[in-house]
C-alpha cells in the first residue's frame, strides 16, 4: 500500500470554460484520494480552469511533489503544455528546494484495458459478449494522433482476451467513423465506450447524434446530457446498442493515478 505523507499529489487535467463536467472526474478522483490519506496533500490543476497550471504550485506545502496528468494519452498537452507551464526540466525537476516528479498520463496505464472491459460489462448486464461487438470510440484527428494510437492499443489488448465476438476502433472524425457503426459491426449487440477522460459535448451530444440515438439539439451538453446513458439499451438499425459514459468517469481511475506514482518510483528508484 502506497503511503506518502510527506509528498503532495497534483493531478492535472484539461478542464473547460463552458462545461463543468470536464474537470469533474479529476476533482472526484482527487477527493477520493484525499479521503484515503495516501498523500500529505492532494490538489488539481487545469489548462482551462482554476487552479491553473501556473497557480497550483503556490498551493502546495510539501517539497516532494508528484504531478500526474489525467489525460487519455501522451500528446501535445503532456509533452509540451504541461512541462512548459509548470517549468519542468523533464521527469525530475529540482527547483528552490523542491523536487517535482512528472509521471506518465493515466491513459497509458495497463489497467485501462480492465477498466474498459468493466465499463462494457456494467452497461450491458446479462448480455453475452460472444454475441457482442465492442466499439472503443476515440476522437481521431491529427491533433490527437496519440489518443488514436492509445485507443488502437486498447482494442488490440481487449481483442486478445477473446471475450467479445469482435472489438473495434471507431472515431468521430476519421475512418472507421462511429456514424457507420452498423456497417462494420456484425453482432446483434453493440456496446460503445468513449475513450475520453471526461464527459462533455463529445459524449453527451456528438457521439449520440453520430450513433443515431439522439437528435441534434444544441445545448444537450448541459446537465441533462447524461440522460443519454440512462436510456440503454437502444434498439435501432436492427441491433441492440448500449452506450457508456466516458471511461475517465470510472472511480477506479483514482487507483490508476496511484499506479502512475508507483510506476514513477519504480523507474526513478525513489
Amino acid at each position: 500500500m502506497l503511503a506518502k505523507p510527506d509528498s503532495a499529489l497534483v493531478i492535472v487535467g484539461h478542464g473547460s470554460t463552458v462545461n463543468p463536467d470536464s474537470s469533474a472526474p479529476t476533482f472526484d478522483h482527487a477527493e477520493a484520494l484525499r479521503v484515503r490519506g495516501v498523500f500529505g496533500e492532494v490538489h488539481c490543476a487545469f489548462w482551462k480552469e482554476e487552479p491553473s497550471f501556473r497557480q497550483v504550485l503556490h498551493m502546495v506545502g510539501r517539497d516532494d511533489i508528484y504531478v500526474v496528468p489525467n489525460f487519455i494519452s501522451e500528446g501535445y498537452f503532456t509533452t509540451t503544455v504541461i512541462p512548459r507551464e509548470l517549468e519542468l526540466d523533464g521527469a525530475l525537476t529540482r527547483r528552490g528546494g523542491r523536487v517535482i516528479k512528472y509521471c506518465e498520463p493515466t491513459g497509458n496505464d495497463p489497467r485501462m484495458t480492465d477498466l474498459l472491459l468493466r465499463r462494457a460489462a456494467e452497461i450491458a448486464p446479462g448480455v453475452d459478449p460472444a454475441q457482442t461487438s465492442l466499439l472503443i470510440v476515440g476522437h481521431g484527428t491529427g491533433l490527437n494522433e496519440n489518443s488514436a494510437v492509445a485507443a488502437k492499443r486498447e482494442v488490440e489488448r481487449i481483442a486478445a482476451r477473446g471475450l467479445y465476438a469482435e472489438v473495434l476502433n471507431a472515431y468521430m472524425e476519421e475512418e472507421p467513423l462511429i456514424a457507420k457503426w452498423d456497417e462494420y459491426s456484425t453482432q446483434p449487440n453493440v456496446v460503445v465506450v468513449p475513450f475520453f477522460i471526461s464527459d462533455g459535448l463529445h459524449s453527451y451530444e456528438d457521439i449520440p447524434v453520430l450513433l443515431g440515438i439522439a437528435g441534434a439539439s444544441p445545448g444537450a451538453a448541459s446537465a441533462g446530457g447524461r440522460e443519454v446513458f440512462q436510456r440503454n439499451p437502444y434498439h435501432l438499425r436492427g441491433r441492440t446498442l448500449f452506450y457508456a459514459s466516458a471511461i475517465g468517469t470510472e472511480p477506479l481511475f483514482a487507483d490508476v493515478i496511484l499506479e502512475q506514482v508507483a510506476a514513477f518510483d519504480a523507474v526513478h528508484a525513489a
Partner: protein
Amino acid sequence: MSRDVEKALADWLAGGGDRIGEIVIARVPEGWELRHAEDAGHADLALHAQPEAARHLANLDAAGNFRPLKTVPTLVRGWRLVLGDIAAVRRALDYFYPAMTGAWLSHTRGELVPVVLRETLGRQTGMYRVTQKLTDPQARELIDRVCAGCLKHRLWEIAAANPSSPAFPAGSLPLLCHEACNLLVAQAREVVKKAERAVT
C-alpha cells in the same frame, strides 16, 4: 512542511481576518462559518458541513451558468458552510477561490513573481501562438474589458512589471493575479483573429 498554508490562514483569522472575495468568515461554536457577504444577518440559509460542498456552490452562478473563473463576483447566495477546523476551511476556500490562499502566502514570502503579459503570450504554442501578434492598444482594451469583471488584484502589466507594492484592505485576504489567465489568453486569440479577418 516548508510552506504551511493552513498555519498562515489560521494566523490571518486569529489576527481578525474575516473576508475573502465575496465570502465572510466568522468564528462559531462548531468552528468556522463561511457565507456570502450579502447574506450577513440572514437566517434562512441552507446549511452545509463539508468543505466539498464549496466545490458545488462555486460551480454555477444563480442563472445556472458555469463559472470557469471563480473570482468573477457571481457566487451564489443562500448558503452557509460550517466547518470544524482550519484544514477544512482551507479546502473550502481552495474550491471557492482556487489557489488564492496559496498565492497570498507566496506573496507574503516574496515568492509570487508577476509575469508580464508579453512573456505569457511569448511562450504560447499551438493555437495560442498567434496571440504574440496582440498589439499594446489591443492588450489594454482586452485587460479593461476582461479583467474588469474579476475580483483579483492584477500584479502584472503588459510589458513591464508593476513596481508599486499594493496595499490591501485590513481583514480582507487579497485575491492576487500574478499572471494572465488562460481565459484572457483565449480572448487575446479572438481579438487577433478578428483583426486579421477585418484586414483580409
